[in-house]
Amino acid sequence: MSFAFLLAAADGAAPDPMKLNLWVAGTALLVFGIAFAILYVKVWPVITKGLDDRNDKILGEIKAAEDARARASEALAEYEQSLAKAREQAQQTIAEAKAEAQRLGDEMKASNERELAERMARAKADIESARRAAVADIHANASELAAAVASRILKREINSADQADLVRDALGELDGAGV
């Protein structure tokens, strides 16, 4: 078969692609009609529902996550607020404790100082009374001693008037000496 013959044969037998064929059209009508009816009832509702369910699930999860985040933010804010309040209370407690400690310290200091002053005053009074007693003893002993010494020196009896004069003089000397 030569090429030219082949082309000529092809030209002669060229079918018409635009040929009307109602059987084909009818078959297409029937097949697509049936397929569409089945798909319309049995397939597309299932597919769209599956896609919608998933979409709803995703949107629901996103909303739940957003709600959880909002709740977490709220809880965090509450926690921070409580923390701030606790800090404030702690500061206040510390300040009160410091003030109380200061007050107690001051009171103790004042009490100690007062007690010390009392003790010192008491000690001074005791010392003074002891000194006075001692001086009185000294006076008494000194007059007796002086009378004895004077008796021995003078070899005579000294009467009470003389003794009083001697004591007075001695005391005057003692006072002059600052005893």
């Binding site: 030569s2 092809a10 397929a35 319309y40 599956g50």
Partner: protein
């Protein structure tokens, strides 16, 4: 190389590229009682029936995998299982959310989604089945009466029927949404309510718009038919080149090898292009139907008409 020559010779045996693409008799039509019915059981009719069955079974299978599972599955019940179902889901979600919903709005999308997706997947299945070299396999095994094979969407009768469905859907929607008065008002572009001076052009506008009512589905039919037919004729012609070259060149010579290699490479590229066209034409048919439906909606959508027109123009430009 030998394989491409065998295929090329098989195609050449069909006398012309058209003989391999247009409708022909199947072995089923030779059965006596079938022949008595009429001119039935042609290859395209067989492919239509097989395509319909494949479509329904395939989508049934996909739907069973997309369906929400039982509660015992936990979060896994929302996961689509299987590649086919995932492929269907990706196409459905993309076309619904990115293509149809912006045009029709959520309510109308929900209403028209079953029809639009049915027509999309029906055309897609027929287009893809048309790419299978079923008739060539018959030749390969020495069979000269075909059980099946061919591209049903390369048949004007099939595409016209599908366009008829689209026409009915568009008009059903327009009467339902607009009513008779609204429909007439739409066909006069609202000029009846406009200035009286424009009433003179109302008959012309009405004639043009009324013609458009029929031209739109006719354009859908011819676009799909011509693209599928033209692509397959081109592919068949290219694949026939090595055998034609065999007639003028010495087989095994450098020139013959060059023709064969170039032809093989070009045929592969064209096949990939045809695969893309199979998806594109299914999409274009479905998308333009959605656009025509949206154009026949209430006036609140009319402000979107310019945007829709731009999209239509872009699709037409790509196509």
């Amino acid at each position: 190389m030998r394989g491409s020559l065998v295929l090329s010779n098989l195609l050449l045996a069909a006398d012309s590229p058209l003989g391999h693409v247009i409708n022909g008799e199947s072995v089923w039509s030779t059965i006596s009682w079938v022949g008595e019915i009429g001119d039935v059981a042609s290859l395209h009719e067989v492919m239509l029936v097989i395509g319909g069955v494949v479509l329904v079974l395939g989508l049934f299978f996909a739907a069973s995998r997309i369906r929400t599972g039982s509660e015992s599955q936990g979060n896994e019940r929302y996961v689509t299982r299987g590649r086919l179902a995932q492929l269907v889901e990706v196409m459905v979600v993309y076309l619904r959310d990115e293509m149809i919903q912006p045009i029709l709005g959520e309510k109308q999308t929900r209403r028209w989604l079953p029809f639009l997706f049915s027509i999309f997947f029906f055309i897609l299945v027929l287009n893809l089945m048309g790419m299978l070299p079923l008739q060539d396999l018959h030749h390969f095994f020495g069979l000269h009466h075909f059980l099946l094979g061919g591209t049903a969407t390369a048949n004007i009768n099939v595409t016209a029927t599908l366009a008829l469905f689209a026409f009915v859907a568009i008009q059903f929607h327009s009467f339902r949404e607009l009513g008779i008065i609204g429909w007439l008002d739409h066909l006069t572009c609202g000029l009846l309510k406009g200035p009286k001076g424009l009433l003179l052009v109302v008959p012309i506008v009405f004639a043009v718009e009324f013609a458009g009512v029929f031209i739109k589905p006719v354009a859908l039919a011819i676009r799909l038919f011509a693209n599928m037919l033209g692509g397959h004729i081109l592919l068949a012609t290219i694949i026939m080149l090595p055998s034609m070259a065999q007639l003028g060149l010495e087989p095994g010579s450098g020139a013959w090898f060059g023709v064969s290699i170039a032809t093989g490479a070009f045929a592969v590229a064209l096949t990939v292009l045809e695969l893309f066209v199979a998806f594109l034409q299914a999409f274009v048919f479905m998308f333009l139907t959605a656009v025509f439906i949206s154009l026949m909606s209430h006036e609140e959508h009319e402000h979107e008409d310019h945007a829709v027109d731009e999209v239509v123009a872009e699709v037409a430009a790509v196509h």
